[in-house]
Point group: C2
Chain length 580, copies 2
């Protein structure tokens, strides 16, 4: 029982049936066809030779099938992680060198080990500190950078850069050398892929193709573009006219590679590996959870960390680069009927066959077509509308998202996501350091108490109640003191101050000292301090201090009890429903 | 009116009266007598020549008198800031060199500018992020380090070090060279000062000296020790027997000094200057607030930043080093009747006279006596009892305090306070990421709802209410989803889930998306999601999103209303007071 928790394959493998095999195989065939051009394209994006993309789509899929808990997740190279790989490795070595490939393999290894450690120590909750606005802003900005970085392949010009600024200035310098044949191939495939994405499905459904099948056909559009463009290169001898093609890709099984353990390299890559791990995990786990929810299944996020860790370690041992669960391919896998992780293992077999036998076929594949595949894939990631929604809903969320987008575009992916996380934490801390606090009164005709500024409630000049809408801790302890003293100054007749605490989830030592100071100071002016609606866990803790002995007033279970005890007449009048 | 806010002297200066002059002068004389040995001692602690201590007690006091808002605060060199100065400057230059003095002056300048900027931009709230446990732990550990660092002067041996480990190993190597005459002088003055501190006041009160006067006399004990030890050195020619004395101290006005603006030096000192600024501000403002509260006065923390900034800049221009408001001397100032900041200016005049005329008198003052003064002063800072209180009250507060103490002692003051601040923030974030959430039921005979596990309350199988005791934000959004799904699994009969939100102080975009996911998922199993007791500001924000349109259930003003509407029978029964 316990072992199957760490090796989910023992669980689903034991109950594997023939019907499942059929649907898993079908799904695997479709995903394989979809994954071949994607793998080649993302290897290009990561700055690696095309075969690295195929290699990264074999062993990692098998590792995930053994350790993963999602039935539909398809792992492999994905756009954002490939971009982050290019950014991290590009700072260390030049594309095409052995150092570059070694660094990529090492990055996958480090990222795998980090994920495994997070899984073993059950640190999956750390991913919760990446807020939605930060993730969404980061992915939008990454999509823009990726699309921009592929433009040079569409134009057939040299160039580079990891930020929008670098890419734009590089393009500006080389755009005059545009190769018209490359541009023609690139633009045509871009147009075709965009049509397949948005126009083909309605068209197929109009001719009564079932929706699911139509959806799947649109996902294999890139394969059609690949085949057609290879035909065009051969027919018109475009290679001789300057259209860059993939060229020779080694035929055979993935090589056995070893990461470098050189201390300097590891130090340079460690921070990037951490970011890639966390971003990859968040992306993968949210896809897996979405798909699991559709079938009322659950995934285990900590075990997902182990599975992704194993996938990355296996990528590093077989000539790959960092991988994670991809959104589009997982949805295709799910829609095509994948019933168990075995579908992933079958997909791996499909890619293995491709690597072993099909690579000569892609010699003439134009790089512009791969670039077009990438551009169309990442355009769906870009969602500037989220920025508008965030602006409407919360300025803090908007600020975090806008900062993440701006810094990712201008400074780089790692700086962008780091600043986003730090900013969202700082904004949260700032918000809790200036809590909302309301003076409350009794809602006529009931025992309920609400804000005097928002509701027609009944108050007493003798008994003033302040509801503090935040846990009391060091950052707002001083603020609480100021607020209470101000309240006393505004209500010279008050003889009782009640702190109503339904929203106080804990009181730390700093705040306890502030409460003691408030109690002493109020007592010296003959005002009693009371508490009401103190929660159980908070009360337990207060009982372990001396505060309750020193408290000049009492602790009441409910605010109504407190009000009724300290000013019975007003409370009775309010209960009777008198409007003030 | 506005100008006097930034120059409080315009306010109190205009209304200055003769009676006030008398009490200010009395206080100034007493504080001057107390401050002379203290200034010399803290200069020694900071690694500077004794006159630097006198200089740091002249111009800064005048600057504070002009800009400060506290009537009793006495600024000047203090123990913890002097220790931090020694730690920061000691990494850059050797004690006694010109570079050391320049670095100290530059540190004061940087710290002054930082404080001024914080004041101008009203960033005083940043100090709130230093929790009590961190400050208290840091001051305890600093006290231990300071006392340990002075032992070598009591023994008359060479040595150094900025951490307890360094100091101990340095002492271990030199303790065999102890000078018996120095030890005799040091031990005698230590014993005398300890007696003055704890035994003299009761003795004086026994012979009917008024309590306040007795308190003040005990504070000038160090002056008696200074005078007596100078006499002893002269009488027994202790200088020739190896007792280190202060030696020649330049006689005259403070010099005009300029900080260095060398980029490298500024970069090296900047982080230290920030820490010194914040720690100095927290120490000073808490003394000022305590004393102001006793007289029902208020201080303005942001103006205090400006005043401390001006004090430090003026210290840097007159051969001083970083200063702040000191606890002991401010209490003496207050008890001696200081009525306005003019007392500080008069104290400055007193120290100026001492620097101009009295320095030849302290030629023969043994350094061991200054060390004894420091040790006795800092022993009152050490409070390991706080560690026990924190342990009893809250493990998180204890962890922050223990880590601060341990790292300050072993690694250093700057690391200690930094780790303490970061750890307390991380623990806070961790706590809010796993909020307390309770299933609640109706307290019989009323409209109040409490935790089913703590109170005898009435519940309904049909309507399950979860009270989430935390604001909903990105770090706990996923946790909330898990908790609700678990609740649904545990209550198969439930048709309504109410999220009771009195403790939810805001809902950010990430949490909003989780709520939408919960709503959709519950709706697909025919369970309605309701909210109750949503606060005004939270409701305002929800209205700006599409969540309320999609919500399958309703939003109720009070939890009782919700329960009564969804399961009227049970609610009525509960209201009637039936025990379950």
């Amino acid at each position: 029982m316990r072992l199957s928790r760490y090796l989910p394959i023992l669980d689903w493998g034991r109950r594997y049936k023939v019907e499942t095999l059929a649907s898993d195989l079908t799904a695997a065939v479709i995903v394989t066809i979809m994954l071949i051009p994607q793998s080649l394209a993302y290897a290009l994006l990561a700055g690696l030779p095309p075969e690295a993309g195929l290699y990264a789509s074999i062993a990692p899929l098998i590792a995930y099938a053994i350790f993963g808990t999602s039935r539909a997740l398809a792992v492999g190279p994905v756009a954002v992680v490939s971009l982050m790989t290019a950014a991290a490795v590009g700072q260390i070595a030049d594309t095409g060198t052995i150092g570059y490939a070694t660094a990529a393999v090492t990055l996958a290894f480090l990222s795998g080990v980090i994920l495994l450690l997070m899984g073993v120590f059950r640190l999956g909750f750390l991913a919760n500190f990446l807020s939605h606005p930060v993730i969404s802003g980061f992915i939008t900005a990454s999509g823009v950078i990726i699309a921009a970085s592929q433009l040079r392949h569409i134009l057939g010009v040299p160039g580079g850069g990891h930020t929008l600024v670098e890419i734009a200035s590089s393009l500006a310098g080389s755009v005059m050398q545009t190769n018209p044949y490359t541009l023609a191939v690139g633009a045509a495939s871009l147009g075709f892929l965009l049509f397949v994405r948005s126009g083909l499905k309605p068209l197929l459904m109009a001719v009564r193709v079932p929706e699911k099948a139509a959806g799947i056909v649109t996902k294999i559009g890139p394969v059609i573009a690949v085949a057609a463009s290879i035909g065009a290169v051969l027919a018109f001898d475009l290679g001789a006219r300057g259209v860059a093609v993939v060229g020779e890709v080694p035929q055979g099984l993935p090589p056995f590679t070893l990461p470098s353990f050189e201390r300097e390299l590891v130090q340079l890559l460690l921070a990037s590996a951490m970011l890639i791990s966390v971003i990859g995990f968040v992306e993968s786990v949210s896809v897996a959870q979405t798909l699991a929810a559709k079938k009322r299944e659950r995934i285990d996020p900590d075990q997902e960390l182990v599975a992704l860790g194993a996938s990355n370690v296996s990528a590093s041992l077989s000539g790959g680069f960092p991988v994670t669960g991809g959104f589009a391919r997982s949805v295709v896998n799910f829609d095509a009927g994948a019933a168990t992780p075995a579908a992933g293992a079958f997909t791996a077999a499909g890619i293995l066959l491709a690597a072993a036998f099909l690579t000569p076929l892609i010699y003439h594949l134009p790089i512009a077509v791969l670039a077009a595949t990438i551009i169309v894939a990442v355009l769906s990631l870009v969602d500037f509308g989220a920025l508008v929604r965030a602006f409407r809903y919360s300025k803090a969320d908007f600020a975090a998202m806008a900062a993440t987008i701006a810094i990712t575009l201008v400074i780089g992916v790692e700086a962008g996501v780091s600043v986003g996380v730090i900013l969202s934490l700082v904004l949260f801390l700032y918000r809790t350091s200036r809590p909302h606090a309301a003076v409350v009164g009794q809602v006529p005709g009931g025992e309920h108490f609400r804000n005097v500024e928002r509701h027609a409630v009944i108050t007493s000049p003798l008994v003033v109640t302040l509801r503090v809408d935040e846990s009391l801790y060091f950052a707002n302890a001083r603020y609480l003191e100021d607020r209470v003293y101000q309240l006393v100054a505004e209500n010279p007749e008050a003889r009782h101050i009640i702190l109503m605490c339904p929203a106080v989830n804990f009181i730390d030592m700093s705040a306890l000292e502030s409460l003691e100071a408030i109690n002493t100071r109020l007592a010296s002016t003959d005002i009693k301090l009371h508490l009401s609606e103190v929660k159980g866990p908070v009360m337990d803790r207060l009982k372990r201090s001396h505060f309750l002995d020193a408290l000049s007033g009492q602790v009441f279970l409910s605010q109504y009890e407190a009000f009724a005890a300290l000013d019975p007449e007003t409370a009775k009048r309010a209960m009777a429903g008198a409007e003030r």
